[in-house]
């Protein structure tokens, strides 16, 4: 398990090595077409490497096009519930936040899924707060079974489980599991997660491997940038990804670099940990060169202008037209895809790119890329009906 190998001390040393890197070291890595080790990756994250950012971006673009083509895969998140037993200082769903709590009934999940399918989506990310009673395995299993005929690809982002309880979800036809460590910095993690099962740093860290053992074939990891030093987090995500690459070799890996957004509870992140646009681009380009085959996800947390420019820059997956509130899509207007409700107080965080799926798809086309809605068929994982 990754937690057995994880060493914050090593990451601190790599972070130091990054800050002290020379331009000669950066150039040597670029001449070799990419980093061979975490230390070389650290050099690409260095302050001096920003002098080579354009070159890194171009290399990242070439590698991404070779492996993924001129395509961007689109997906939508669907929030089932904002019930949560954890206290996480930065999260809108944190149990001590006085927001209206809701878990949407399966019928409504199906209706929202159909609505998203009419917008074009064939890939759904099912999200919920961590609550064994409201977000029970039986409920999630039923959601999967009911949504699969509508959505060929289903991913889950829920409270972590043991290997065994994951198995029925895989059998029901779910193929992808996303779990972000939020922060890989143990002290920061402890300070931010004060109650609930999410307190357990290592247990969360090993979730992707338990999911892999249960049969998930796509794994997504990431950190929430803004909680601690961005270089430290990027190094940790890279170390985790490299571990999964060798230990879970059948899994398609994706990486996400979400940055903090305002949320209920009013958590104010330390400004010194803020990751700039330049640092985000540098991180994504360096990740691409280290992990040429990993998917890179960019969500609606980012502003439209940045998202437009990232299409050609190493990103492979984008969400669009998202609501982070359980039941949020029920009040979307279908022709314009805008929220008709005045307040969204049950949302996890407020998104920055509110453009409709159609507008996002057109934007992707205008960049010379194809928006891909469907890239998985449920028949791969579930026995087909009507065919012997």
């Amino acid at each position: 398990m990754f937690s057995d190998h994880f060493s914050a001390e090593t990451l601190h040393q790599l972070n130091e090595s990054s800050r002290k890197a020379t331009i000669e070291q950066v150039d040597a890595v670029l001449r070799r077409q990419g980093p061979r080790s975490l230390e070389e990756f650290a050099w690409l994250l260095s302050p001096v490497a920003t002098q080579r950012l354009e070159m890194m971006a171009q290399m990242a673009q070439r590698v991404t096009q070779r492996n993924f083509g001129k395509t961007i895969r689109l997906f939508a998140p669907l929030y089932l519930s904002n019930e949560c037993i954890n206290i996480c200082k930065y999260c809108g769903f944190s149990r001590n936040n006085p927001i209206p709590r809701i878990t949407i009934p399966v019928e409504q999940v199906v209706e929202e899924t159909q609505k998203l399918a009419r917008q074009g989506f064939r890939s759904l990310l099912i999200v919920a707060g961590e609550h064994p009673k409201y977000v029970s395995n039986g409920y999630v299993e039923e959601v999967i079974q009911r949504c699969l005929p509508i959505m060929p690809s289903l991913a889950l982002e829920l409270g972590p489980l043991e290997t065994e309880p994951y198995k029925p979800l895989v059998r029901a036809g779910c193929e992808s599991l996303i779990v972000y460590q939020e922060t890989y910095h143990p002290e920061t993690y402890k300070e931010l997660h004060t109650a609930g099962p999410k307190k357990h740093f290592k247990w969360r860290m090993d979730t992707p491997e338990r999911a892999y053992q249960a049969g998930f074939r796509r794994l997504g990891i990431g950190a929430l940038f803004g909680l601690h030093d961005w270089r430290f987090e990027a190094l940790a995500v890279a170390a985790h990804a490299r571990h999964l690459h060798t230990h879970c070799w059948k899994a398609q890996l994706s990486i996400s670099v979400p940055r903090m957004r305002p949320a209920a509870g009013g958590f104010q992140p330390d400004l010194k940990y803020q990751m700039s646009d330049t640092q985000l681009v540098q991180t994504i380009a360096a990740m691409r060169l280290l992990l040429p085959h990993a998917g890179v996800v960019l969500s609606t947390r980012e502003h439209p202008s940045l998202r437009n420019n990232m299409v050609q820059l190493g990103v492979t997956h984008m969400s669009a037209g998202a609501s982070t509130e359980p039941g949020g899509y029920s009040s979307f207007d279908e022709s314009q895809w805008v929220q008709t409700k005045d307040s969204q107080e049950g949302e996890q965080f407020h998104i920055a790119d509110e453009r409709s799926p159609k507008v996002i798809a057109d934007m992707i086309r205008s960049k010379g890329y194809e928006p891909v809605w469907k890239d998985f068929d449920q028949s791969l994982v579930t026995a087909a009906q009507g065919v012997a």
Partner: protein, 266 residues
Amino acid sequence: MMTELSYQPLQIGDRSFSSRLLLGTGKFPSGEAMRDACAASGSGLVTVALKRASLKGPDAFADILDYLESERYLILPNTAGAMDADEAVRIARLAEAAGLPKWVKLEIHPDPNYLLPDPIETLKAAEILVKEGFTVMPYINADPVLALRLQDVGCAAVMPLGSPIGSNRGLETEAQIRIIIEQARVPVVVDAGIGAPSHAAQAMELGADAVLVNTAIAIASDPSAMARAFAAAVAAGRCAYEIGLGHAENRAVATSPLTAFLDSKS
């Protein structure tokens, strides 16, 4: 204007194709760019990943098949995304049930990074699908014994890789491909890794029956023009193969070597 090159048609299963260039349809910047490049290539056989298509009927958001005229091309469904024989067999059957040709490009890659094919699962699936009457074209590593085993179970062609998918590294497996060609009873289609027209010509000069190209055309700045460049290279390589290339020597061969004195004896 380019001189027309003539060479024998390609025969796979019960079908004959005038072009020896096969195209993959993924990675293109748009459906239109893919359609135009396929047309420009002159290919009669194009492969489509079923995971990108709708097998349940028309779907405007999974419309890759809409761009390909079925009278112009034989559409070769491929099983990309399948991780074992069961999944590949299931998706091949579904494609047939959806009205696609009873042909399949068998691709089973459990490793999602280099997309290298699993030889054991491929052989298992090939056996099942051949028995069910499919024309099976398996994507394989350049392993001559596996190629023979697949021919033994009745595959209509074998498709060894030149180098990993999308790598553009050309024929890194040349020595093995030579053996596969030498021993082949069915067409050998070199698939994957072909990054330049010269790689395609090289494969054809070796005696490959066809090549399959995708990434190098799909991500070119002008996919249609690049498709034509590949078509020309494939034609040139095939012609040269049929004419017979001179044997390469490591050094210059003197016209009057050691035995010249014999001629002047009389």
